[in-house]
Amino acid sequence: MSALPTLTTKQDRASEHRRRARRSITISTISTIVVIGGLVTYVLTSPGWPTVRQDFFSASVFRASFPAILSGFWLDVKLFLVVEVAVLVLGLVIALIRTINAPVLFPLRVLAVIYVDVMRGIPTILLVYIIGFAVPALDLSGVPTNPTVLGGIALTLCYSAYVSEVLRAGLESIHPSQAGAALALGLTPTQSLRYVVVPQAVRRVIPPLMNDFLALQKDVALVSIIGPQEAFRVAQIYAASQFNYTPLLAATALYLCVTIPTTRIVDRLQARSRRERGGVLAFGPR
């Protein structure tokens, strides 16, 4: 066995560090090239690749279908923007009902618990079906009949249940002394909730909240089962008429255009909240 190099001076140690860093960068680069290159070669040289390229990556089908898919995607974007706002409002109301301990609110608390349990338990696709087909069948006046609106309502019901639990976790993570201090300063209970507790709670749960919104941004495609021609449905129509799957990939690319930036924002927010919490620990109680 060869003897370990004797690292005596500070410079020796620093240059050894640099050497190791260079070495690990070289190794990771080579291994990435080998792995990715190997996979790509494996796929591109497979006997079925020409057919797969024709059926999944056809440029002409992509060009023909993309404008219609894009206009379908605009419906998705409008839908999830509106639903996200509705989900936040409804979710916060439910979370507050479940958190506030006033005896007079007991029946509401029971209803809120049942609501959250049931809405989280039903598969979203089933909820869209039920709201989309059963509700208009009741023939009540004043009940919306537009399928996009009905689909939006179904998604709001489902996601507000998830989001209310996230917000409740946030509310319960705020130490009671915060509300106590607010009351001592002369704020009313409502004011202490509005200006002290809720802002802190929401800030703390933004990363998991964004996570739910990310899931919602893809689930808007479920609304297509009750008729509206959103991106995924338009892509399916093209795929079925051309016997070619490229339109589905075009739709996927559009969803990614929205979800990947959202994911990056979530990552950044998570990193920031980690830093903030880490900072508090490092400097001790302030």
């Binding site: 057919t51 059926d55 009949t145 399928p147 509206p228 051309q242 070619n244």
Partner: protein, 234 residues
Amino acid sequence: MLTVATDSPAYPPYFEDNKPSNGKGFESAVAYAIATKLGFDKSEVKWVTEPFDSSYAPGPKSFDFDINEISITKPREKAVDFSAPYYTNPQGIIVSSDSKYAHVTSLAGLRGAKIGVQIGSTSLDATNEVIKPSSQPDVFNTSNDVVAAFKIHRVDAIVVDLATAFELISEIKHSTIAGQFTAPGGDNWGVLLSKGSKLTPCVSQAVNALQSDGTLAALNKRWIASAANVPELH
């Protein structure tokens, strides 16, 4: 062994009781007739379920041929083989018998109607290109969903192949067929085979033989309602 595929649920008048192997229904009967022409006994035919969306996927297929109300079109022929057509089915328009669309005399009269169609069918293209409705048609996953939307008045009309239209109006109260029209592609139905299948010429030959010896016409008469009294709309 001959493996024949269709989707599930398989609807009348093409299949009965969602059981393709019972030989009842137009397409089930046609499949067995083709099998006989190819020299297979009834017991040598095996049925498998193949969803429409995956029937045209590249790669090896789980079936020898797929019979599933599939219209032959030029773009589709790039991805799969079709046999010679065994049936020509125009589009039918279902409306409520008490609606203002029940007595239209031209397709222009339906332009203002909200139309529902099933996904994957050529009815959507036919509707867009021939009726040119003023609002986008609603597209549903299954024909059950189209019917559900029609019953709750979400759509004023259903466009579907004429033979299915006859089946549906017997299920939906107060509905009628306002008329029929021909889709731009002609709506010839073919048996689907994998691209370049060795069986394609044999199946086509069998279909042509069934056509010329009158078997197809007889099966058609046996399983599909006569469309003679449905007005043709232009």
